[in-house]
Symmetry: C2
């Protein structure tokens, strides 16, 4: 059987440990072509670069693994793959991550990792965003790599339903403490910020954004937050129709 072609990107940048870990894990499954951002792109969501051009450079090529760096956002990296580098040879699956820090609940819409996974799924092949609930640059990705490899093999071998986009979050515990993998829905809640205000050397105020997540339903056992908090891997299948169908009818006669 022909080795699958696996595309990889991330939002922590081409040098991140989580990315290098994922490239290595994917290399055990198939051929790998990766395009990661040159620098950290955390929190870049689904952003694309419209007002500056993009650069692409090859970082390394060894055996069946090719790694490139792109000057843009995670979504730019995906477009650069599907509409340029791999335009004539779409990958069998796309992976994004492994992110340093979880992307559960509403974080999915701020996350560059998930922005890239969602974008890749638009091209008609499965895409998986992978995140570890540990934001440190030297986090231990051992368990996450095992989980990633298992889920990628499951999707490649068994899933026919497309489009497929998965948001996978792995708790920050040793592999033997992970209780299993749970299919979940996105937890409700929102981020609220506290701005830290300081003065620059010229005496002008500047602000650092520092958020805190408010969980609207901490006891709902079918959510990704609950799964992570109880040492399960959470897997949320993702769709991108933002229509609030419930309100379509109730707004009729009020708007318009």
């Amino acid at each position: 059987m022909k080795k699958p072609l696996i595309f990889i990107t991330n939002d922590d940048g081409v040098n991140a440990l989580g990315f290098r870990t994922l490239v290595e894990a994917a290399g055990r499954i198939g051929r790998v072509i990766a395009i990661a951002p040159e620098t950290t792109q955390s929190g870049k969501a689904h952003a694309i670069t419209m007002y500056s051009p993009l650069y692409l450079r090859q970082v390394r090529k060894e055996g069946d693994v090719e790694v490139y760096a792109c000057s843009g956002t995670p979504v730019d990296c995906v477009k650069m793959a599907f509409d340029h580098l791999l335009a004539d040879n779409y990958p069998d699956i796309s992976l994004s991550g492994i992110n340093h820090g979880s992307n559960s609940a509403i974080s999915v819409i701020y996350s560059g990792t998930m922005g890239a996974a969602i974008e890749a799924s638009f091209y008609g092949r499965p895409a998986i965003g992978l995140s570890l609930a540990d934001e440190h640059s030297n986090a231990d990705f051992t368990a996450a790599a095992i989980v990633a490899e298992k889920i990628v093999r499951d999707v490649l071998g068994k899933v026919d339903e497309l489009p497929l986009c998965l948001n996978v979050n792995v708790p920050a515990v040793p592999y033997e403490d992970i209780k299993g993998i749970r299919l979940c829905r996105q937890n409700r809640g929102h981020w609220k910020e506290s701005f830290v205000c300081r003065q620059d050397p010229r005496g002008v105020d500047y602000f650092w954004l520092t958020g805190e997540f408010f969980n609207s339903e901490p006891n709902s056992e079918d959510t990704d937050e609950w799964a992570l908090a109880h040492n399960y891997v959470s897997v949320v299948p993702i769709q991108t129709d933002l229509t609030n169908y419930g309100q379509l009818e109730s707004l009729s006669g009020i708007i318009g």
Copy 2:
């Protein structure tokens, strides 16, 4: 009756004509406090600024209108409003736009205009993203301003259902040619890019991203794309649960 407090932001930047038009239209309804990005932030989606601080400066204050510029993204502007400038006095409604260019269909997830509107809705007050289907910097916003004023008054006076977030797109035709306002669902389809490759003065390739929208259902009369193409204003109520509930069951036993 006390004048409502209206918060305004956008993604084309504080000097954009569509933004100035919206500030003026909103000023006819209530008090206005606006924070717009210093520079264009088109395509910035739901991006937040994590690795640099933010600056905020007052641009002008005249009567009941205050305008600020922020060095960050549209979502940063919203957070700066709700978690700093207006933290003790939430606005009654938030508006984002009027964008130069439509944000119908899947463009909602790339759009800085809609990123800001969605973020504002998280704070429990209604939020409306407004876009005109004309991307030129000198577009004629006359009709869009009338539509904006009407919808804002409708929402302020009559809508109790929260959270409320609306994606409003106005066709680029004179007001008398607009056939009405339609509640719609988000059109299915995706963007595909063609990269324009050039060489910089040092002989290195660089790429410009230039997308084209592929409409998967051009004849569906209940979509925002159809409404716009037929000279209706489209209004899509927005929600942010990305869970693909249809796949939750079908993936059971395959993943995990």
